[in-house]
């Protein structure tokens, strides 16, 4: 496998594995909270941290982490104080973050500002061994927090007021979530880039939402999707010579379009089938009811009527009543599971 012959590719793949797993695990809560763009904003703020790191010759990953977490806490405090001014305050913080980063980087010796692209959009060659170690620590901390506090974070993201009414520390949990987002942003710095990380938090979750039935399923599926697109995108970018961040995000958006089209087609088919059944019984000679000659069969919260061996369920719509098929059953026998 020639891709694994390169040390930098091994590190890039490790980093993409971690960010692919972690970003959606945090992103699902942002989607639930309808704050999908928080990751984007914290990416801006992290850039100032990168600038400070480059200027002071400390590891930019650490300084970015500090800047992003500070920004995250500040945002939650502003949000908690009042919403109207919060919107403007967020914009100021976000654009201040990216402007600060650009200016600080331009002051760096020997024109290192050319690295800006790699921080913003990801570049697989830039992951250092220390980066991988830091990323591993961040990943473990973030995933542990999600496992420990997941249900509370869900409660707060779902219905902040209810969470407050039952005594959950809403502000604290919001700050924890924002700090998780900030950490994830930093995790993305090498492979996906600070401007594109938000996509890897949100798009896998959007895909999982289309398919999953429960919150738990959504989180698990989003992590799998994130992992796959992240590793596949990094690999593709190695062979195609494209920036890794853009490749990963395009791949996940392509998957999103594919899945949502599939789901839409499936739903349309189900609707068509339903309508065809309706047509069959459109000219139904009578409305089922007491004494219509068809055997009534209790079915959950309604009554079906036995009609030549299949069950008719009245379906009342604005235009009147038609009959849905609720499966076949032997005449006279109670339907399965409803013997009581």
């Amino acid at each position: 496998m020639d891709i694994l012959d390169y040390d930098f590719m091994q590190r890039a793949l490790l980093a993409s594995l971690m960010v692919g797993l972690v970003a959606p695990a945090v992103g699902v809560f942002l989607v639930q909270r309808r704050l999908s763009l928080l990751g984007d904003g914290l990416g801006h703020v992290a850039l100032t941290g990168v600038g400070v790191g480059v200027l002071t010759a400390t590891s930019p990953v650490w300084t970015a982490l500090v800047a992003a977490v500070l920004g995250a806490v500040l945002i939650e405090l502003v949000r908690a104080r009042g919403r109207t001014s919060g919107d403007v305050a967020l914009a100021v913080l976000f654009y201040g973050g990216i402007a600060g980063g650009v200016v600080l980087l331009s002051l760096a010796p020997r024109g290192q500002a050319t690295n800006l692209d790699s921080y913003l959009f990801g570049a697989i060659t830039t992951t250092s061994p220390e980066d991988v170690a830091v990323f591993a620590v961040i990943s473990v901390v973030v995933l542990l927090t999600v496992v420990l506090l997941g249900q509370r974070l869900y409660a707060v993201s779902d219905d902040e007021e209810y969470a407050r009414a039952v005594g959950l520390p809403v502000l604290g949990l919001n700050i924890v979530l924002a700090a998780l987002v900030a950490s994830t942003v930093v995790l993305s710095m090498r492979v996906v880039g600070l401007l594109l990380i938000s996509a890897l938090m949100i798009v896998p979750s959007a895909i999982a939402q289309l398919l999953a039935r429960s919150f738990r399923e959504t989180v698990a599926l989003a992590c799998v999707v994130g992992l796959v697109v992240s590793v596949a995108g990094t690999t593709t970018s190695f062979y195609a010579g494209t920036p890794s961040g853009g490749t990963i995000v395009l791949l996940s958006i392509a998957l999103f379009l594919l899945v949502s089209t599939g789901v839409a087609v499936r739903q349309a088919t189900a609707r068509r089938r339903h309508r065809r059944r309706v047509d069959v019984h459109d000219a139904h000679p009578h409305e089922h009811g007491d004494g219509c000659g068809h055997q009534p069969v209790p079915h959950g919260d309604h009554v079906d009527y036995d009609h030549d061996g299949h069950r008719h369920a009245p379906h009342r719509t604005g235009e009147g009543v038609h009959y849905d098929e609720h499966g076949e059953h032997p005449v006279g026998a109670p339907p399965a599971g409803r013997t009581g």
């Binding site: 639930q32 509370r152 779902d158 407050r164 039952v166 959950l168 959950g300």
Partner: protein, 272 residues
Amino acid sequence: MSTTPAGGAPVVELRRATIGYGDVAIVRDLDLTIRAGEAVAVLGSNGSGKTTLARGLLGLASLLDGEVQVLGARVGGLRDRGRVGYVPQRHSVSGAVPATVREVVGVGRLARLGLLRRLGRKDRAAVADAVAAVGLEDRMDDPVASLSGGQQRRVLVARALAAEPELLIMDEPTAGVDAANQQVLAGVLGRISASGTTLVVVTHETAPLADVLSRAVVVDHGRLAYDGPLAEAARHDEPGVHHHPPARERSGYRLDQPTVTTRPRGAAHEGH
């Protein structure tokens, strides 16, 4: 203070309570005692302050003056928040991300668990019982988005029941629910009340729950306008009838004494 025959211990006690948001007082100078086991309707027209009264009991609106005690503790000072259940006025439960009935109702149980404890066997049993109490046990693992509006309302009731509360506060549980589901809901609330849980139901329609609620408290312009048997409350609650001045007079009354009073800054902290 209560005109209802004395039941158990006081569960809710308001003494000259002024409740509102920020500096804005909405409920003013209200005295009210609700005892264990009572089933009380809080009535009033839109903007009367009935919802603010309920939110004040939950710590979602601020106490600006006076005193509010819930289950013997100051609002927010209750150690076990699970003892007070809350059903917010919300027409749908489904958020952006899919969640099952079990997951949504499980959130209600968190009130009993502190910050880190996870749902144990006993908690999961309480969640299952709560879902069964509203008759949705066979929808346990279905996404809430697949339920009808009336069923989703029952999910919200189950979420509150999951913590096994002694006091259940509900905001407009029957609004926008069809007759069949209102009947189911009335049955559920009747059973909850019969089991000894104190009910406080904010509502603008008493008919669906007439068999469940016995006492009514009517709030008008933030003040207590009536407290007594539900059956006799109807004429106090209808706008323009009896104690309400005719519409023209009323608008003048509002000009002199606005419903919403902006209190001077700092006033909120007086008396603390």
